[in-house]
Symmetry: C2
Subunit: 388 residues, 2 copies
Amino acid sequence: MVSQHEFSTADSLITIDLDAIVANWRYLDSLSSGSTLTAGVVKANAYGLGADKVAPSLAAAGCRLFFVMSLAEGINLRADLRAAGHDAIPIFCLSGCHAGQEPEFLHHGLSPVINDLTQIARLGMFAQRHDIRIPAALHIDTGMSRLGLNDDETDWLIEHSQDGANALEGIDLVYLMSHLASAEDPDSQANKQQLDAFRALMPFFPSAKASLANSGGILLGTDYQFDMTRPGIALYGEHPAGTTDRADQAMAAQKLRCAVTWDARILQLRQAKSGDAVGYGGTHVLTRDSLIATVGVGYADGYPRCLGGVATAMVGGHKVPVIGRVSMDSLALDVTDIPQNEIRAAVFARLLGDEYTPGMMANDAGTIGYEILTGLGRRPARRFLGDR
Amino acid sequence: MVSQHEFSTADSLITIDLDAIVANWRYLDSLSSGSTLTAGVVKANAYGLGADKVAPSLAAAGCRLFFVMSLAEGINLRADLRAAGHDAIPIFCLSGCHAGQEPEFLHHGLSPVINDLTQIARLGMFAQRHDIRIPAALHIDTGMSRLGLNDDETDWLIEHSQDGANALEGIDLVYLMSHLASAEDPDSQANKQQLDAFRALMPFFPSAKASLANSGGILLGTDYQFDMTRPGIALYGEHPAGTTDRADQAMAAQKLRCAVTWDARILQLRQAKSGDAVGYGGTHVLTRDSLIATVGVGYADGYPRCLGGVATAMVGGHKVPVIGRVSMDSLALDVTDIPQNEIRAAVFARLLGDEYTPGMMANDAGTIGYEILTGLGRRPARRFLGDR
């Protein structure tokens, strides 16, 4: 329950359950052997939920490696972990180390995930100039064509790393990595193909540990888990397949705890008449005398505009429809069917939670839960449960 | 042009042209008579572009009234204006004053836009207790059924504000306001109906100034402009009708300057082979040997995920397609057709700008430019042109 007081000066409140995120990490960690390290992927501000809170909570629970995307994210995360008393935890930046960023990587103790040969050469020269070895991961593409060395580049690197040659001089290759393109679909042939391609490369980098699995990869089973797994979306309570119909996936999804609820202040209750138009463009015309609750969340808060006339919200335990177009700062709910005494006492509507998860919202919006979470705006107030 | 250096530690850079926003404000101001005040609507962090920079720039140009949504936005804006040396500029909060917020409104010199009778009563009692008068606007609904007094409430208020009764005691009613639901469509009958309804109410609030027009309303002509206009989207360079085919609207759109460009760092150039799959799910399969640029913007940055396979970007003056699914932190461009010497020298891709405006992106994403702007993420670096 949320009282009027907790909204303070904001018109909506996002509650993030750090205990749920920690529980999800522990569950994912339990799926692999004791020798497999379970990292925490906290890029994109921990999928929109707040890396400054999420990462220290995971570190306190035993998470010993983090992934972010950009150097800027790495610098912020280093400061957040340090402020929480967690020093020297490796942080890898998936974007790689771009020209001129080498000193910052060194200064903040960050490790690049190397994606191409130019970076290898640049980092190697930097290391030699400073007489150091730079800890890094190497990303090899095995079928996604996004980031990482392609086949030709990989062949070149292998050729120039043998028989005395060392193209990786100055680089402490901690991890060999690749990324699965279709891990959320256990039936996809692409998974096995990528697994085989990855296994074929491992012997050429014997000193590096191996990592292939994202959240979906962890759920594909032990074959995919190697030395380190990199869960992201599942930490935040969403199954990578979304609102899946498969029984095995639905069962796995049950083990994950929803980490986010979103409550919107009721700004106004209004009696409207049959025939009245609601919202921009007057697209929704009432077919009965109605009671409408206008609540303080709109698309500028990250509530997808396309959900007007599609989504539902919960008011005092009742499911109610979103009617008319979603505005920038508000949306309208038809609360006519809620008993008068209940609706008059209601303070807020729940837009996201156990009854309507990010995955369900994504389904209604034609996207994936990842985009819902990372799209949550900065305007809603935020409250963290389990914050220590 | 953007150099590698300007990305600094980020993977993309949003450039906001404050001079363009000021020029748009001046243009909109020129459309109404000298006695009509042209306010600045800077809610939702100035439509995603940064209220802390936009509002002081507008204030320096002569803007003498601002609108935000929530109390929190009002408090922030008051501090931003004060820091820039602009004291005592009225700030109105469209969300209204909610129970318990009265002292904060008073403390920060903010004015509520009153939406219902309960607020009138609550503010009146607060004013009497403190022996003050609270400057406020009154929002009356004339056909949008979103916020503002409905017909019955308006009748009640008028009845109780005459013949010695004063339901508005303690409230200094500065503005009478309503909001147009279909202002972007000059052919909509709703505009004239709302105008007539608004005019019919004005005589009952003779001491209040009148305000009806948002951006679209300003463009509807002088009938709609009254004492104060409230432009929002047009300040930021977008015509309220989006990418319109109407000649008169296209001409007005020409007068507005695009205020935002978005450049994404090229993270990697990769040769890929005909038959290779690109991105998550392998949805895009190459039909020729290709050169792919992976750039550092994804849906977590506010780039709509649905634009994969749909949108275009500019690289060194060449228009190129976005291929495959948009990832959380990156997207792929097919740059095969760009001459080798040009693409090898390229540092970034332009995702938004004069050639592909927020309105055009919105069109491709099935939404409106407002949602594109307000959805811009916090991860991209930001640079302000014209910042003083």
